[in-house]
């Protein structure tokens, strides 16, 4: 069995794990699961995302080949550090005990953190700020897309008024939890389930009849970042990103 498939099996096993246990038993089980998840497996999951994000950075900051080579070196070191931390967040997601303080749940954010850390000592502050602002705007765009999809699914079931749709958008985006939409595909039509959103972010905006329907809707826990592009493996896009762009070779090193 190849590693991604092994990882998927592990996820499935963990998802099928039994009823809630006492906290210390849960911690113990989490530790064991983290031990089983080797850093290499996590890194394998993160690498295609890293390659794609690096391509983004290359263009955004107009990196020279020397800068990019240095970035790769730094990135490798940071990757080792964060992969173990991500393993903890990853396992806690399966077990439903993940909290934001456990570190990012979304592998995309982890990769962005790795790159930001790798860049920290190498780039001028203005460029670093520019990258941080850009990733924050991109995250906001993804959050809006996910929140709107969730409100649409609510609308399909509860027939909301235009005002309710707006109130719910506001409620979800201001109290956003990244674990609700690790996979956008999972909240598209055809999946008649909602992420595990707390009632107090939804119920105050519903009528009594709508509350009744909402309480009977099954909720799901997402455990994995979407690692494909509308069904195409992310690795294909990463391979493309790894290919050296011809115009880079001619670019002179930036004066520091």
């Amino acid at each position: 069995m190849n590693r991604p498939a092994g990882l998927a099996c592990l996820i499935l096993c963990l998802a099928l794990a039994g009823p809630p246990m006492p906290l210390c038993a849960q911690d113990e089980k989490a530790d064991q699961a983290v031990e089983k998840l080797s850093g290499r497996e996590i890194q394998q999951q993160l690498r295609p995302l890293l390659a794609i994000e690096r391509r983004f950075l290359r263009k955004l900051l107009d990196l020279t080949p020397e800068e990019e080579a240095e970035l790769l070196k730094q990135e490798e070191q940071h990757l080792q550090d964060v992969s173990q931390k991500h393993a903890v967040a990853f396992v806690k997601l399966q077990q439903g005990t993940w909290r934001p303080e456990d570190g990012p749940a979304d592998a995309r954010q982890i990769v962005q953190k790795v790159l930001a850390a790798a860049l920290a000592s190498r780039l001028p502050e203005d460029q670093l700020t520019s990258y941080r602002e850009e990733i924050s705007r991109r995250a906001a765009g993804r959050r809006n897309a996910a929140a709107r999809s969730i409100v649409v699914t609510l609308d399909e079931n509860l027939v909301l008024t235009a005002a309710q749709r707006e109130q719910l958008m506001e409620s979800l985006t201001t109290n956003w939890n990244e674990a609700w939409a690790l996979s956008l595909q999972m909240i598209q039509p055809g999946n008649e389930q909602f992420p595990e959103i707390p009632n107090d972010l939804i119920v105050p905006f519903l009528t009594d009849a709508q509350r009744k329907v909402w309480s009977s809707v099954p909720k799901i826990r997402m455990v994995n970042t979407e690692l494909h592009v509308l069904g195409l493996p992310l690795q294909d896009f990463a391979n493309e990103a790894e290919a050296v762009m011809p115009e880079r070779d001619a670019k002179p090193a930036r004066a520091k």
Binding site: I52, D155, Q185, P189, L230, L232
Partner: protein
């Protein structure tokens, strides 16, 4: 082959629940047949419509092996699995909830009388009964052919519209409900209903567009400005599907393909254009499927896309 398997595995990570629950009578047919069944279901699964070409190849490769294992009888329970994803009761509950939502939506348009509500509910129940009658006709056919693997293969294609209906909205265009709604509402109620329906469809379509762009962003890594411009381009130059459902993202992609090249070229970098083309190539053959199932936008809507004529759009929504 290995490469294709990998794609299949990756899909199972995200949305493979229905496929993993797939059940076969294992007594006589053995594991090979299970694989054939899984592949067939893989083709039929809504989330992978665009993978049909690859899936067909896989079934073609695997079928001769299944034939070699001799006479098999496919378990009757598979029929429910194919049509309802294994849970007929959940489909029934979903239809009930949809009908209630539809009537509530009509009620938001004005004070419906009890008589009007009753008519609408009755029409909706008629649509549900029609659907269940179609299911039972095909169930009987399945019972008569379930011992013949070749006939079952053809049958799996035959029930595709039914699967689509089970996961779709039985009260949309062409339904008894839609016809009754047109006849039942007063002119004022109909105008208000059309306005609300248009608002709802716009919100819904924007959500689909933003999701598709966010999913493309997984691999193409758009800058924020690019993402916003593509969303606006799609909102202004394309139209919502006739019926919203599980294939909405393919309707958006299909229309993205048809946006004149120059407009996208201005927004995307050369490498992003290449990668986008690779995604588009995978969905080249989707048009006949969307066309056959009445999912492509209404031509009248398409004409108005980008013209910003809300009155004409509202008129279309009213007719709908």
């Amino acid at each position: 082959m290995n490469h294709r398997r990998k794609i299949h595995d990756a899909r199972l990570d995200d949305d493979g629940v229905a496929r993993e629950e797939f059940r076969w009578n294992r007594s006589a047919s053995g594991r090979r047949l299970i694989r054939v069944g899984c592949l067939a279901l893989f083709i039929l699964s809504g989330a992978v419509a665009a993978e049909e070409q690859d899936g067909d190849d896989l079934v073609e490769e695997a079928l001769p092996q299944a034939r070699e294992v001799g006479q098999v009888v496919i378990d009757e329970q598979n029929f429910d699995q194919w049509v309802y994803r294994g849970d007929a009761e959940a489909t029934r509950r979903r239809f009930e909830a949809l009908l209630r939502s539809r009537v509530d939506a009509a009620a938001q348009a004005g004070n419906l009388t009890e008589g009007q509500k009753e008519k609408l509910e009755l029409a909706g129940r008629g649509d549900m009964r029609r659907f269940h009658e179609r299911v039972e006709v095909l169930r009987l056919r399945f019972k008569s052919i379930r011992h013949d693997i070749n006939a079952v293969q053809a049958f799996l294609q035959e029930i595709q519209p039914l699967q689509l209906a089970a996961n779709g909205d039985p009260f949309g265009q062409g339904s008894l409900y839609a016809r009754t709604l047109r006849r039942t509402l007063t002119a004022d109620q109909a105008a208000e209903y059309a306005r609300l329906d248009l608002e709802r469809r716009r919100f819904r379509y924007q959500a689909r567009i933003e999701s598709v762009v966010a999913m493309l962003d997984n691999g193409l890594a758009f800058r924020d400005e690019q993402r916003q411009t593509i969303v606006t381009l799609l909102l202004e130059n394309t139209s919502p599907p006739r019926q919203f459902g599980q294939y909405d993202q393919y309707v958006v992609l299909y229309q993205l393909q048809r946006i004149p090249d120059g407009k996208l070229e201005k927004i995307l970098d050369p490498d992003q254009r290449q990668l986008l083309q690779r995604v588009m190539d995978r969905f080249q053959g989707i048009e006949p499927f969307l066309q056959q199932n009445g999912l492509l936008p209404d031509p009248a809507d398409e004409e108005q896309a980008g013209t910003g004529d809300p009155r004409a759009a509202a008129e279309n929504a009213r007719k709908r």
